[in-house]
């Protein structure tokens, strides 16, 4: 407390403060809040930048890892034709099922199984029960 000499005389119950001291305390107090939170803002900003860079590097590595096996399958195709890049292989029969519903089912299957859509083959999608 001694280090804060300028405020030394306002401690304790019953202490009186003039308007000058009151304003000074208010300005200093507000400034302290700004300085502390400002410092934290700078820290958060820098931390965010560092993690964004690390994340983008990680993503680019993952992308490279995903593309490589797909290319390998493509070149190994028996017909010698590349596999479609963004759709499943072969003909698909829909029974009591709309194209939109089928698209959702295929996308979910791909996402849940972790297998890219161009490496999955759907033969039939059939609605077994109809709620209506």
């Amino acid at each position: 407390m001694q280090a804060l000499g300028v405020f030394e005389n306002i401690y304790g119950a019953g202490a009186e403060m003039g308007i000058g001291q009151t304003l000074l305390i208010s300005v200093v107090g507000f400034a302290v809040v700004f300085i502390v939170l400002g410092f934290l803002a700078i820290f958060v900003f820098c931390m965010g930048k560092v993690f964004d860079i690390l994340q983008s590097k990680k993503e680019s590595k993952e992308k490279a890892a995903v593309v490589t096996p797909a290319t390998a399958v493509s070149t190994a195709s028996p017909e010698g034709t590349p596999l479609p890049s963004n759709q499943s292989i072969g003909d698909l029969t829909l029974i009591n099922c709309t194209e939109e519903e089928a698209a959702v089912i295929m996308a979910v299957t791909s996402a849940k199984s972790g297998i890219p859509l161009n490496r999955l083959k759907f033969n039939t999608i059939k609605c077994l029960e109809d709620n209506e």
Partner: protein
């Protein structure tokens, strides 16, 4: 016949009716209003119900729920003389529980629960939120100046001013350290105004912003990694506690609760902190705070001043956040909606909801809630820092 008369007289003399005063009746009425607001109007019912019930218990003469037989050892509320031969455990049950308020155990435990429920993600994805959270502490310092001018002692003025932080536990924490005799009106004012935020803030927000500013749609926030969320509470605690050690109890508990939530390996602790523990402490804190509002000590001119100063503090805190929001709107060339600055008062999440609702009034496609949550949680840190500063300045 004499015996019957004596028995009836004895029952009358020991009953509360014999010593009931008009101040007690007024406070019972106030408690009734609080119950109506909480139960039928749904204004902060989790807080107002226990507070109102505590007020009822404290204003039943003869029940002695807040009797202190130690002469102030359990909290210096009325400075009563010690009862000869009595132990501390002979005191009223609420007075014994009040030790949790006086020692700051309850506010700190509440902060742990708040931390376990808080997502700092919006703040981490938009660090400028911290500046808005700082700006919204303006009301604290404005109210402090006004309180001094009204004749309050510096300790009292500092405790009253913290109401402007819109943070109940912080207000109680500061008041219990600096001016315990004002704890009841300060706590009641803080929680009442927090409940009334949807009424207090919108006119100020509208007054200080243009239609064009209120319509600003903010861009999507960046995705925050789990590691950032783990590092943040630890770093905030270390930085703030080193600068303002007096803020460490509040921020330490806040960040501990948040670390329970974010670290992913203490789900049970996080669940306890944000549910069971939080509920238990809310009950005890609410009842004890309400029980400090004994009509004979409570109904004074000072109480009215405190209520008025609390409102002033809230208004200026909201204005501070909005005005810095306007500055950021200009600096960022219209990318920040100034309305989110009002959420810098730390009433989480009511203030953020108000910003969201106001934004949608002027642009129905606007979705400001997550953007406003950043300043909102920054305000919690800001008010704890402001309280820490006041404690450094004025704690005996």
């Amino acid at each position: 016949m004499d015996l019957i008369t004596q028995v009836v007289a004895g029952i009358w003399e020991t009953s509360g009716f014999a010593t009931l005063q008009w101040q007690n009746l007024v406070m019972l009425g106030v408690a009734g209003v609080f119950l109506v607001l909480a139960i039928w109007k749904k204004f902060e019912p989790l807080l107002l119900v226990p507070i109102a019930f505590g007020m009822i218990l404290a204003n039943l003469p003869g029940a002695n729920m807040m009797l202190d037989t130690t002469g102030g050892l359990l909290g210096d509320l009325s400075g009563a003389a010690p009862v000869e031969g009595a132990h501390w455990f002979d005191s009223g049950v609420l007075r014994i529980l009040y030790v949790g308020v006086k020692s700051s155990i309850f506010p700190c435990l509440i902060f742990m629960g708040v931390g376990a429920m808080t997502d700092f993600g919006p703040l981490l994805s938009n660090p400028v939120s911290l500046i808005l959270g700082a700006a919204a502490q303006l009301g604290i310092y404005f109210a402090f100046v006004v309180a001094i001018l009204l004749g309050f002692e510096p300790q009292e003025a500092a405790s009253i001013a913290i109401i402007g932080g819109a943070d109940g536990p912080t207000a109680i924490f500061t008041a219990s350290k600096l001016a315990a005799h004002l704890l009841a009106p300060i706590a009641l004012a803080a929680y009442s105004y927090m409940a009334l935020i949807p009424i207090i803030q919108p006119p100020i927000m509208k007054l200080l912003t243009t239609k064009k500013e209120r319509e600003v749609k903010m861009t999507q926030l960046r995705k925050v990694s789990k590691i950032e969320k783990i590092i943040f509470p630890v770093v905030v605690l270390i930085v703030v506690a080193l600068i303002l050690p007096s803020a460490a109890p509040l921020l330490g508990m806040l960040m501990l609760g948040n670390l329970f939530k974010e670290c992913g390996v203490t789900d049970r602790l996080s669940d306890t902190a944000q549910n069971a523990l939080m509920n238990m402490v809310t009950i005890l804190l609410g009842v004890c705070v309400g029980a400090t509002a004994n009509g004979i000590d409570f109904l004074k001119k000072e109480t009215l001043f405190i209520v008025a100063l609390g409102l002033i503090a809230f208004i200026f805190s909201t204005a501070g956040g909005v005005l810095i929001g306007k500055v950021l709107y200009i600096v960022t060339k219209g990318k920040i909606n100034p309305l989110i600055g009002a959420a810098g008062v730390s009433a989480v999440p009511m203030a953020a909801r108000v910003a969201q609702n106001e934004g949608r009034k002027y642009n129905p496609t606007n979705f400001l809630l997550m953007h406003a949550m950043g300043p909102n949680v920054a305000g919690v840190i800001g008010s704890a820092v402001a309280a820490g500063f006041m404690l450094i300045m004025f704690q005996n």
